[in-house]
Symmetry: C2
Subunit: 300 residues, 2 copies
């Protein structure tokens, strides 16, 4: 039974990745000789890869609440642009200095430092262009979406998490600080994805549906990071497509600073159960329930 649901989910994720790819391609700037190196650097990192889990979440919440994914897709694309820009800037020599990303050379290794910086800036900016130009949402919804994305991506969201991360590189973070780091650095966008889906389906902030979606997203966001830490410690370089053991090399605090692998897995299971509980009463909760388990059980 679970195996069937999981197969169906994998197909949904794969189908969503395909339509998201097409929508992202559509949302990219058109050819321009003077600006081609910039556009190429943007599309190099944005297109051609990944499960598109954040866009999937946006669209899945929209569908779970009876909405039309034509409305949610531009918001999903905007969020993926934000995610992509953050990876480009994260990989820069002044940040994590990573040469590889998703199994290919990182943006600045291909396009150079200056162009990679600008490509990140451009994708961040284009995210807001895409959200504010959503042809299927009325202008009020667009404005609300922009606000949600800006809050999640900004100095009190994702970027705030990056600053805590930087500050904690050479010291052990207390557990509550570690929680805050991940709640902001990766959690904020996942939370935003769920809320954008609700918004696209017509549910405003403060509704019971949006509150439940927020809880779900916060729990799976944290579980996602716990699993990441486990995989980083025990995974193989080939499976991950990035250097393994990087966290330990940098003396970073991870969930394995506070749990052994078994304890960490148990913690992630509890978070996943909480996530599922928050939306279990919804008529169309199945995809989201299966997704929570899928993310818990991933091995890459």
């Amino acid at each position: 039974m679970m195996e069937e649901k999981m197969t169906a989910l994998r197909e949904k994720i794969s189908a969503n990745a395909e339509v998201t790819e097409a929508a992202l391609r559509e949302a990219c700037p058109v050819a321009d000789e003077d600006l081609q190196s910039l556009f190429d650097a943007e599309t190099y990192s944005l297109l051609g890869g990944g499960k598109r889990i954040r866009p999937f979440l946006v669209n899945a919440f929209c569908e779970a609440l009876g909405g039309d994914t034509r409305v949610s897709m531009p918001f999903a694309c905007a969020l993926e642009m934000i995610h992509t820009y953050s990876l480009i800037h994260d990989d820069l020599p002044c940040m994590d200095d990573d040469d590889m990303r998703r199994g290919k050379p990182s943006n600045h290794k291909v396009f150079g430092y200056a162009t990679a910086l600008l490509a990140g800036d451009a994708l961040l900016t284009r995210a807001f262009l895409t959200a504010s130009s959503n042809p299927y949402a009325d202008r009020g919804i667009r404005s609300d979406a922009v606000r949600l994305i800006a809050e999640a991506a900004g100095d009190c969201g994702m970027i705030g998490g990056q600053i805590i991360d930087l500050a904690g590189e050479n010291e052990t973070l207390a557990f509550d600080k570690l929680l805050r780091l991940h709640t902001l650095k990766t959690g904020a966008l996942i939370r935003c994805a769920a809320r954008l889906g609700c918004l696209a389906a017509g549910y405003a902030e403060g509704t019971a549906e949006t509150e439940a979606a927020t809880v779900y997203a916060e729990k799976i966001g944290l579980a996602f990071q716990v699993i990441d830490d486990i995989l980083d410690a025990v995974g193989s370089e080939e499976e991950l497509g990035k250097s393994v053991g990087g966290d330990a090399d940098h003396h970073k605090t991870t969930f394995l600073t506070y749990f052994d692998v078994e304890g960490a897995r148990k913690y992630a299971e509890e978070l996943t159960a909480d996530a599922i509980r928050s939306i279990a009463s919804w008529e169309r909760s199945e995809t989201l329930e299966t997704l929570a388990i899928y993310l818990l059980e991933r091995t890459y």
Copy 2:
């Protein structure tokens, strides 16, 4: 007569800089111990300086068209955040590598490379938060403002100009490429300022007022850059607060590649006259007319 108008304009600019400073301070993130270094880096570059010419333009267009500057001010602040982030990223070692900005150490010299990068990202993101949260504009206007700003600041606007600038560092740009460089790199935000002012006053894209405002802004934007090139060649380091002769050192193409100083000044005068002509029939055109002359005659 002109001297009186100029004195009145200087007072207006100074008064606007003061209220803009207060509005920007209001729009900054509130204190948070974990995130303080990020917030400090943002406010270091955003607050405490400058004539705030872009916000002045936003508010002046709003007033010239009978609008309420309470509506335009959050958009003006958003644009100033965009301008500030672009300076922070421009000064980074991988870009222009400038140690000084506005007479004080550039952001990365004070806060370090990584934090400066993130402070720029944060200000760019906060610009869209500020525009989409404008309490005096309805949500439709907010969404339109976000779109205008994202277009102007993005890969087909300001960032596009920066890419042309990078590509042209070691070659002589053709005159039309030089025009495009400046139309995008500095012109796009000035054009956006005028259009945001129109929007805040209730004039949509495509109206005669917005078209005239766009022409005005394009002309003074170009004149501004021509004057910049002249001042860079003949100004003094003390007056400018930044290194003089930097353009020549980098073998950059400037308007003085194509004009002598007198010819360049004549070109700027013609552009200024065109700008004034485009809005001269407006009932309340005086401030904008004087501003065009003020920018032409500036010596810093």
